[in-house]
């Protein structure tokens, strides 16, 4: 966890420095705002990882001497197949087409999106641990 945290915090710090220099020096604000937001976007997960890295033992993937046996056990639950991503994607497709060809296309769009959300959630529940 520690390396992950350091990468994100380091990037955030650099963006923060760059932002400070740029904001003082330049005559426009858009770039400064975007760099500031970039800094926050690095600090948020970076801070989370750092907080955890000080409170947990090294995971097997962080331990250079770990054996495969140390990682034994459940990795996670992975769906085999699912039709719902396609349904959700098609719903988004219709909603974007509505921007161009008429607002009525939002109706099938939202319908497909909700259908996919309900279907996907139910699929997760049926399958057990997700």
């Amino acid at each position: 966890m520690r390396v992950e945290a350091k990468i994100l915090l380091g990037l955030g710090l650099f963006f923060g420095l760059m932002c400070a220099v740029y904001w003082r020096w330049s005559i426009e604000d858009a770039g400064g705002v975007m760099m500031f937001a970039g800094m926050l976007l690095c600090f948020l997960p970076g801070g989370y990882y750092y907080w955890w890295s000080r409170r947990m033992k090294a995971r097997p993937e962080d331990d250079p001497q770990a054996t495969q046996a140390q990682g034994a056990g459940i990795v996670g639950a992975f769906p085999g197949t699912s039709i719902w991503p396609l349904t959700l994607g098609a719903g988004c497709f219709f909603m974007v087409l509505a921007l161009v060809f008429g607002i009525w296309l939002v109706v099938p769009g939202i319908g497909l999106v909700f259908w996919a959300l309900i279907g996907g959630t139910a699929e997760g529940r049926r399958g057990g641990k997700v």
Partner: protein
């Protein structure tokens, strides 16, 4: 159906469980397996490359004579806009972070799948639907988008570019933008949480490292583009004046937003291909990567600097902080130079095997060097003022992206056997390489001269000037050679279709993906080796050399060079 997965044992065969899933078109539609999705991404993006390439051939045919009449002026605008859009938005990025990264990153770190398999599938569908949305502009009355792939305000507002082609372009980009963001989340989560025991961060293959930095850059950059596109749509249809002077808006703001995405995007495109080339050069030089950690820090530095260089595309607007952006842009040459040095260092005194993949990687180095050095010229404001919007810029970034295309084909020749289980024909591959490599130089180098002579970009006709016409003709010849090289690749797929089975590890390669079968089973591994360096598969296959730590100069003994 959800599979709950256990970690595979060390070097102990599991009973090979057959995965019973749908086949054919249903498999394409429902699979959440990262390899199937990655292959869908790869095939779709190569189709986009072929379509975008066809546009390029039309553009070059039009420019072969000063007053070309192959296409109308309006059609020419559509062609160069959609050529750029297809190649940048729909080919180079999705091919790398959606295609090869999707297939390889989980296998390289010993994971059974991506962290969020269904989100991964959604990314693909958003990408496919986004591509169809953008391309469907050609079937509308006003034609496809025609304001250049950068959609500068106020050219892109509803007065100057009316019609639904532009809106379809915006809509398509919204969809593919979200697809990229979801892939970025997925890659980060996979790399942070699903590594195999012993696979510490500083043992990950360079390709995976580069994909991590790419994913972070995607998360930093793409939301900005999405926000900008929504503002542009509001300007076009809801009467806002964010980018129009008339209502108190600022047109240059669009350029700031676009390039704040657009320059990190350049590295989002380039870093995956840097990673591919690193893997290829190390394997075919029979050496570990030279300067493994230096390579990683160079990648991280490029990622960090990439957020502070966007306005070097906007020097001539006259309202940007020239010294800041010149310093930052010139600084990028340092980590890139380190990479170049390390690539050469990896080959140095290695047993170099000139397979097609290796030739493509070397072709990448040379072409990228040309593009990189002309990039340093352009980072300097006085030179940029002189060459801005001329063919010099076009030549510069085509050297860069053609280098990426060389690397992409190198990646396909190197990892294709792992993905399909079959090798491609080396002889046809080498024909393809020479066509592509020579074609690229014949195509770009005349453009540098044209640019320095003042020929502006994005013009369908140019003055009768024998030297300009000769240079344009030469460039067109190069473009035709590049087109033929793509034909050679398609021919290669046909002639080597299921002909040369490759086994698990045809190149005697280093990283974990070569430890599993070709193609890998449903959840990637039946067994895993102990991971003690950044080359676990090589360590397992060469037990006498396990001490080879990274960045040590170790030479492979001659008897271990595999020849086929």
């Amino acid at each position: 159906m959800v599979d709950v997965l256990d970690r595979p044992d060390v070097a102990e065969e599991h009973p090979h469980e057959e995965h019973h899933g749908p086949t054919g078109i249903l498999k394409w539609m429902t699979s959440t397996d990262h390899k199937v999705i990655g292959l869908s991404y790869t095939v779709t993006s190569v189709i986009m490359f072929v379509i975008g390439g066809a546009f390029a051939e039309l553009i070059r045919a039009q420019l072969a004579t000063p007053n070309g009449t192959l296409v109308s002026l309006a059609q020419y605008n559509e062609l160069f806009t959609m050529h750029g859009s297809l190649m940048i938005y729909l080919f180079a990025g999705p091919f790398a972070f959606g295609g090869l990264a999707n297939i390889l990153v989980p296998i390289q770190i010993g994971a059974p799948d991506m962290a969020f398999p269904r989100l991964n599938a959604l990314s693909y569908w958003l990408y496919l639907f986004g591509s169809l949305t953008m391309l469907s502009g050609f079937f509308t009355a006003g034609g496809a988008a025609n304001f250049g792939w950068v959609a500068y305000a106020p050219l892109s507002n509803s007065l100057n570019t009316p019609g639904s082609g532009a809106d379809l372009w915006i809509g398509g980009l919204l969809l593919t933008g979200f697809s990229a963001i979801f892939t970025g989340v997925n890659l980060c989560a996979t790399i942070f949480y699903l590594r195999a025991p012993g696979m510490t961060m500083f043992r990950m293959p360079i390709f995976t490292w580069n994909m991590l930095v790419t994913a972070i850059l995607i998360l930093l950059a793409f939301p900005v583009l999405t926000a900008g596109l929504i503002m542009l749509y509001c300007d076009r249809h809801f009467g806002t004046h964010i980018f129009s002077v008339a209502g108190g808006g600022v047109p240059v703001l669009w350029q700031h937003i676009f390039w704040f995405w657009g320059h990190p995007e350049v590295y989002i495109l380039a870093l995956p291909f840097f990673g591919m080339v690193t893997e290829i050069i190390a394997v075919f030089s029979r050496k570990p990567v030279f300067g493994y950690k230096g390579m990683i820090f160079a990648t991280l530095t490029i990622g960090a600097l990439s957020l502070g260089v966007w306005a070097h595309h906007m020097y001539t607007t006259g309202v940007v902080l020239l010294p800041f952006f010149a310093i930052m842009s010139l600084l990028i040459a340092v980590p890139t130079g380190i990479k170049m040095f390390n690539w050469i260092g990896t080959m140095w005194r290695g047993e170099v095997w000139f397979s097609t993949a290796m030739l493509m990687a070397i072709g990448f180095l040379i072409t990228f060097l040309i593009g990189g050095i002309t990039g340093i010229f352009l980072a300097s404001p006085p030179l940029d003022f002189f060459t801005h919007d001329t063919y010099f810029v076009v030549a510069h970034f085509h050297s860069i992206v053609m280098a990426l295309v060389l690397a992409a084909f190198g990646g396909l020749y190197y990892w294709g056997p792992k993905i399909t289980g079959y090798m491609l024909n080396e002889f046809v591959g080498k024909i393809q390489f020479w066509l592509l490599f020579i074609g690229t130089q014949v195509f770009t180098i005349p453009l540098y001269y044209l640019g320095l002579d003042g020929m502006p970009r994005r013009v369908a006709v140019y003055p009768h000037n024998p030297s300009w016409q000769n240079l344009n003709d030469l460039s067109t010849v190069g473009a035709v050679m590049i087109g033929l090289s793509t034909v050679a690749f398609l021919v290669n797929i046909v002639v080597s279709w299921k002909k040369y089975p490759c086994g698990d590890n045809p190149w005697d390669a280093h990283t974990l993906e070569w430890f599993t079968t070709s193609p890998p089973p449903h959840h990637n591994f039946y067994r895993l080796p102990q991971i003690r360096s950044e080359r676990p598969t090589w360590d397992y296959n060469h037990p006498g050399h396990t001490a080879a730590a990274h960045s040590h100069h170790t030479e492979a003994p001659a008897e271990e060079v595999v020849t086929t």
